[in-house]
């Protein structure tokens, strides 16, 4: 497995270079120009030239890209052009917050989604299936923004239950963490359930129609045994794929809307600000980290495939 992992890591290098190259082209040629945001109200031509030089805009493209690759290899992205904070420190500070914010919703959204999908698939075409699917479609159809505002009003504001905070974040104690994470988690779960349930139901329905399930039923296996031991286990490949490929987004992107509306200082807001202002040091780090994470996820996914399906070989 070690040999396989190393081979995969090496094979991932072109992917990382490709992703970073394309992203860098987009940043340089289509991204915002930071110069005039830093120039202030009344700049001179000389000051503008100085800022461009400081930002490296006056250097040839390939020199800039080479510098980027070196930064990626040394994990030294310098300072944010907006805040002046060292990029590695900035991400080190904000990624754990986003992770703590989105992880409960991510886990619950997938676990509950799988359970509901199992239920809907098992009782296919009955009122249970129809109710769950209606709920899923509602979750998918309503804008995330509306859900956030609605949940804030419902759980956090003086017009609703007023039990949780509208804004803020703390992980100092478990109580504080639960106090601040509950409503964002509910919003994330509500939205993700729609997509997850529909997807997982389709996978499970297909599995339920297979011969070995019919045989198990004929032998009198219980519903629980059929669903958990046979159907779920055999559906794990697409489920793992979906979950694993969501992880980089959960870790790096956070959730911009959730962070903005609930005043949570995570990496989602940092990334969004970097994109909209052209803060290239931050963007370069985020793009690089995402690419590396995807390669790692690819490897872990393959290993998990092997664990759940012995027919899969790691070559």
């Amino acid at each position: 497995m070690l040999q396989y992992t190393l081979k995969k890591l090496l094979a991932g290098l072109p992917l990382i270079l490709g992703v970073t190259f394309i992203s860098f082209v987009l940043m340089v040629y289509f991204g915002p120009d930071k110069t005039y945001e830093l120039a202030g109200k009344n700049p001179t031509e000389e000051q503008i030239a100085q800022i461009r030089a400081d930002l490296g805009y006056d250097q040839p493209f390939f020199k800039r890209y080479t510098n980027y690759v070196i930064e990626l290899a040394t994990l030294n992205f310098g300072h944010s052009d907006s805040t002046g904070e060292r990029v590695t420190r900035l991400l080190g500070r904000t990624i754990p917050i986003s992770l703590a914010l989105t992880l409960p919703g991510f886990v619950l959204g997938n676990v509950i989604g799988i359970l509901l999908a199992l239920l809907a698939a098992y009782y296919r075409s009955t009122w249970i299936d129809k109710s769950i699917m209606t709920f899923a479609v509602v979750g998918m159809s309503v804008s995330f923004l509306i859900i956030i505002i609605g949940f804030q009003v419902m759980f956090s504001s003086a017009y609703g239950l007023n039990m949780f905070p509208v804004r803020g974040w703390s992980m100092d104690t478990l109580g504080e963490y639960l106090y601040y994470v509950t409503v964002p988690t509910l919003a994330i779960v509500f939205v993700s359930l729609g997509y997850n349930t529909r997807f997982y139901r389709a996978v499970i329905v297909e599995e339920l129609g297979k011969d070995h399930i019919r045989t198990a039923r004929a032998y009198g296996a219980s519903a629980r045994s059929i669903l958990l031991k046979r159907v779920l286990k055999n559906s794990m490949i697409p489920i793992i794929t979906r979950i694993m490929f969501s992880i980089p987004l959960v870790v790096i992107s956070g959730s911009l809307l959730i962070e903005s509306y609930f005043g949570i200082p995570g990496v989602g807001k940092v990334t969004y600000d970097a994109i909209t202002t052209g803060d290239q040091p931050v963007l370069k780090a985020v793009v690089g980290a995402t690419a590396v994470l995807f390669v790692v996820v690819l490897i872990v996914t393959d290993v998990l495939y092997r664990l759940f399906d012995p027919r899969v070989e790691l070559k």
Binding site: Y36, N42, G278
Partner: protein
Amino acid sequence: MRNHAVTYLATLLVALGLVACGKGTDQPATGSDGSALKVYRHSMDGAPTNLDPVHSATIYANFLVLNTYDTLYSYKYLTRPYALKPNLAAAMPEVSQDGLTYTIRIKPGVRFVDDSAFANGQGRELVASDVAYSLKRHFDPSNRSQGSWLWAGRIKGLDAWGENGADYSQDVEGLEVIDKHTLAIHLTKPYPQLTYTLAVGFSAVVPHEAVTKYGRELSIRPVGSGPFRMAKFDTAKAVLEANPHFRQEPIDLAAEGFDPAVHGGLGLEAIEGRSPPFIDRLEIDFILETAARWNSFTKGNEIQFTSVPVEQTDTVLDSRDPIELKPDWTERYHSTTGVEAGFVFTSLNMDKPYLGHNDDPQQDARNRELRCAMRDAMDWTARNNRFYSGIGVVFPGIVPPAASDLHSKLSQDSVSRNLERARARLKKAGWTQDNLPTLEYGFQNSVTSRQLFEQFRGFMADIGYPSSKIKPVSFATFGDYNKAIKTSQLDVIPMGWGLDYPDSENTLQLFYGPNHTPGSNNSNYSNPAFDALFEKTAVMQPGPEREELYLDMSQMVVDDCVTISGLSRNRIYLWHKDVIGLPDREILGGFWLRYVDIKSADDQTTPAS
């Protein structure tokens, strides 16, 4: 077995719920000795990114910079129009007869906050050389200062010092440190606004030790001598704690401009004779989303201050003119309104030969008629009602009411819609739907900006300007929009300007020829007569003579139809009844937060006498 699992799960969920809800009660913050802390939670509709004074270009950054650092001067808390007062300086500057030397004495014994940047971690005394050092930093090219324009070409030797390598060990002729507590600023020419510039965040005093230690990260780690010290700062919030070493300066309310008729009922009498800061902790939430800000404010135990979002105006207001709140809101909250120290206006690019200056006198005259017709088509009342809750202040000219009452001496003609005259102008100058130029109207992409554009295009359509000839050019970021402006690409430029100080010069310079783009003269207006008057007034002390010349300059801009101006936005502020203070986000800005106090629980239950 299954029943056990369900029981465990249910118990766990109930426990988590109880923990969460238990924390949810409104528990007062306490200090290390268990005593209740006084905490004030402010909110702002934007977030600062960089707190290094050389970058404190926004209102949001200034709110934090002015509270963590010190400036030589500040503004009297309650006096309007705004009036300067000494802050770090011991007195107002002694100005030489020729207006070229400002001698400033600094209060002795002022200390920077304790920080690991200093030897032994203890803040040292702030001295005159720190002020000189902080001004020098603006001219060090490596700092990319956004505020150097305030002093560029004004202080002897300072520009040259920067151009020659910014060696901090070298003295600058214009920044003479006379002794530990005295600084003399020598100017190249009189600069009556100098004292104002020493009250803005750009002029905040920074210790060189902090710059050495934190480098670029000084932007997130302020080390100053202000009333507060930074405890936490991120994209969502700043938490400041009272600076225990802040100098003792008891408040003299009368000297600050307290007027019982105006300020009575706010509880300000409680701070008389006491030294700020009065609170233990200042928390500032950066909330761009109006719905979240409103929910947080009305919730009762979160932010204690907000401006009223436009969409909530009808909920809160009983009357727009005069502005009056509904009784239940008055009962629940304190309120005030504030006309901004700035204005919104739409400039027309004079660089464009089909719209602005033209070497052919005949075409030049036609262009002027076109610009004036566009201005006549503007419906300020509709704009005010649609976008500013109908409570903005429309004024003629280019000097907003917060700077001067010059506008009252100008005709209302330039802000009155006159479609007939507009059409007549176009006809007289030979403009037809076919030969009218196609204009590019720029804006930073947002729903509101797009709506403003569509309304503007609608106004122009009313005088026969084809809609297809006014094209929107949207930009994803302010930086890109600013680039298009500073490289003179756009024809029609909607802008907002916030005054750096309450002097008309600060807006008149927006039309001074040598300030053309990339400078602040975004309309690229060039009028030798205007420029001559600007240069003349730039060295004049305030007085009726200067006001008269300012009026002439304003009239020139109006007569040349360079810009469609203007409107000062009016904001309604609400704050909780337990907060003692009078908010101001304009010229006084962040200075007011040092005067905030919170009533104790006992005070709140005591009926008003």
